[in-house]
């Protein structure tokens, strides 16, 4: 009887179910979308061959430039704002004090809500006459509560709502990562005479490096697919002021029923998302992921 070293261990066959799923629900649709870009189709009947017409339309689409710019702006703003809030909040929430536990639980509530519910909630809050916007607007210099109706303000309002939705998740990441930091590091730092702020900069932050990278990748790539909240809250409006690329794609496909051109936009989104995640992981050394705890 011969026992191979590998017997009972995962072989290639173990990956088949996952690979099959990935192929059916990710690869095949992607290929189909690319094929659709060469057709005209209104979603009913059969697609008809259109050659490069949809790709050429890219250069005549007056909304595309704005959509790309808005998506880029939303990505950067979301990353900066959400990181700046989630990181300190996560570190704070990592403390074992009871009041922090109670407050953290409240902070995490948005995590339990679906995007659609959040968007509906906020559109009620942002009603300029009867919502919270009417009360809070004057304090913030928006006398008439017209947050989602002013082209310039609508975009930032959307960014705030998105931050409200995602900060809890990233806070949770930072909270658990902070709790993983060995106590000995803080004890050593205390013996060296480091105060709390110094401990944060010299112990906590370096220890959170990999978490920062993970959270950033999720935020950056995720922000390219923000969509549901914007759809329900502003539907890309007023005019096209919040019509980010994913929404532009959706509206082109499912409101204008131009599936061919919407597929072109989908391909652009796919390429942009893949490129962004490659760049981020490379630049940050995410792939190497060295241990931050050598010698412990």
């Amino acid at each position: 009887m011969t026992t191979s070293v590998n017997s009972g261990r995962p072989g290639a066959i173990w990956a088949v179910p996952a690979l099959a799923f990935f192929a059916v629900f990710a690869l095949v649709p992607m290929v189909l979308v690319v094929a659709l870009t060469f057709t005209t189709w209104n979603g009913l009947g059969s697609p008809t061959w259109a050659g490069l017409a949809n790709w050429k339309h890219l250069f005549h689409d007056a909304t595309l430039g704005q959509s790309l710019w808005l998506s880029f702006k939303l990505t950067v703003i979301s990353w900066v704002v959400q990181t700046l809030v989630a990181l300190p909040l996560g570190v704070w929430a990592a403390g074992r004090q009871r009041n922090r536990a109670v407050l953290s639980t409240i902070f995490f509530v948005p995590l339990l809500m679906s995007s659609a519910a959040i968007a509906v909630l906020w559109s009620a809050l942002l009603d300029p006459n009867f919502g919270l916007a009417a009360k809070i607007g004057p304090w913030l210099g928006v006398k008439d509560g017209n947050f989602i109706g002013q082209p310039s303000l609508a975009f930032y309002t959307v960014a705030v709502v998105i931050a409200w939705q995602y900060i809890p998740f990233h806070t949770l990441l930072y909270q658990s990562a902070t709790r993983q930091i060995p106590e000995v590091l803080y004890e050593a730092a205390t013996m060296d005479g480091a105060k709390r702020l110094r401990q944060f900069w010299s112990v906590t932050l370096p220890q959170l490096r990999n978490t920062v990278v993970t959270s950033s990748v999720l935020m950056l790539v995720g922000s390219l697919t923000y969509f549901d909240i914007v759809l329900i809250l502003t539907n890309g409006g007023p005019g096209t002021s919040t019509r980010i690329l994913p929404l532009h794609m959706y509206l082109t496909g499912f409101s204008s029923f131009q599936m061919g051109y919407a597929s072109v936009l989908a391909v652009i989104l796919l390429v942009a998302g893949t490129a962004l995640s490659l760049v981020v992981t490379r630049v940050t050394g995410f792939r190497r992921m060295q241990s931050q705890r050598e010698g412990l």
Partner: protein, 388 residues
Amino acid sequence: MNKVENTAINSYNKANSAQVSLQTFVNDPYKQKLQTGLGSPNAPDIFFNWGGGNLEQYVKAGQVFDLTSALNGDSTWKKSFIPSVLNTAKINGKYYGVPVEGVQPAFFFYNKDVFAKAGIKTPPASWNDLLTDVDTLKSKGITPITVAGSQGWTELIYLEYLLDRVGGPTKFQNIVDGKAGAWKDPAVVTSLTMIQQLVDRGAFGTNYASVNWDNHGTQTLLSSAKAGMELMGSWEFSGLLGTFPDVIKQNKIGWFPFPGGIPGGTGNPKDVVGNPDNYLSVTTTSKSRDTAVDFLKKTMADKNYVKDLISIGQVPAIEGIQNQLSTGSYGDYNTFVYSLVKNSPSFTQSWDQALTPAVSQSLLTNLQKVFNKQMTPQQFADAMDQGQ
């Protein structure tokens, strides 16, 4: 609605030993089902549609039976429908459908308390009256007209009416027909300029672009006396009845047609816009085409069917039902809606239903930009002309 239709079908089946049955679907799935079903061996004999552009695509595909001779051959039947409504199912001079439900024109709703407090005695009868009332209400610190600017279709009603009042129904017909330069017609630019003048005048207040119709934003403003008027489809009445039944029951809401008397305007002030009706059409492939036509003849203008429709708050597009309407519940409202449509020389279908989905999309976003002063009327005309 289905109950009324089933009653009609059952009584027809009994009287004619025929086999008519009703299959129902929700709005969007229905449109998909219809698109794939027509032309297939399982095609229905009769199908429900929206007339105008919606029906035209099936007509173009040769799937709809021409009802012209059936209608012309039975003039009593034809004359029982209000002509401007029946005409929405008229494509290239031929009739392809008959009205099946209630009419839905758009007009102004107003809060009677607000008008009384501001000293406005009668609803505005002309464009100038409307502007005067706007100024009066504004000076009292009330939003003169509420519009749900976060949803472009509510703003579209203004353009639909103004273009009709300025240049008559042919201007929009040119757009539907795809005539070159139809969007750049001076009447379009004039109408949009009038919209921006209303905006500048403060007619809609300042935060209208954040107001949402689905959240009952405008209904709340109107019922709580924070706004004076709202331009909306006739469905707003049942909407208000659902959300704020008290204001309807206490008779606080009034209504008046979109005013005429626009300087230089050539349109007839009696024209209306909105959703004329829904229609029933017969398929060309139907094996029992004669029975289908017979069913439409015997049912659509039938006394009992009309009575049942009225009993559920619909105002059918049938001639000579004033008395029946005025004696039912909300008789004054139903009579108003009825005579508005009956006396209209032309009933323009809502543009976003009459045009293709892609054009409607750009129309709605561009119109929002006009309302928000991000686009000039001329830029709008140029953009729509280029299909942006």
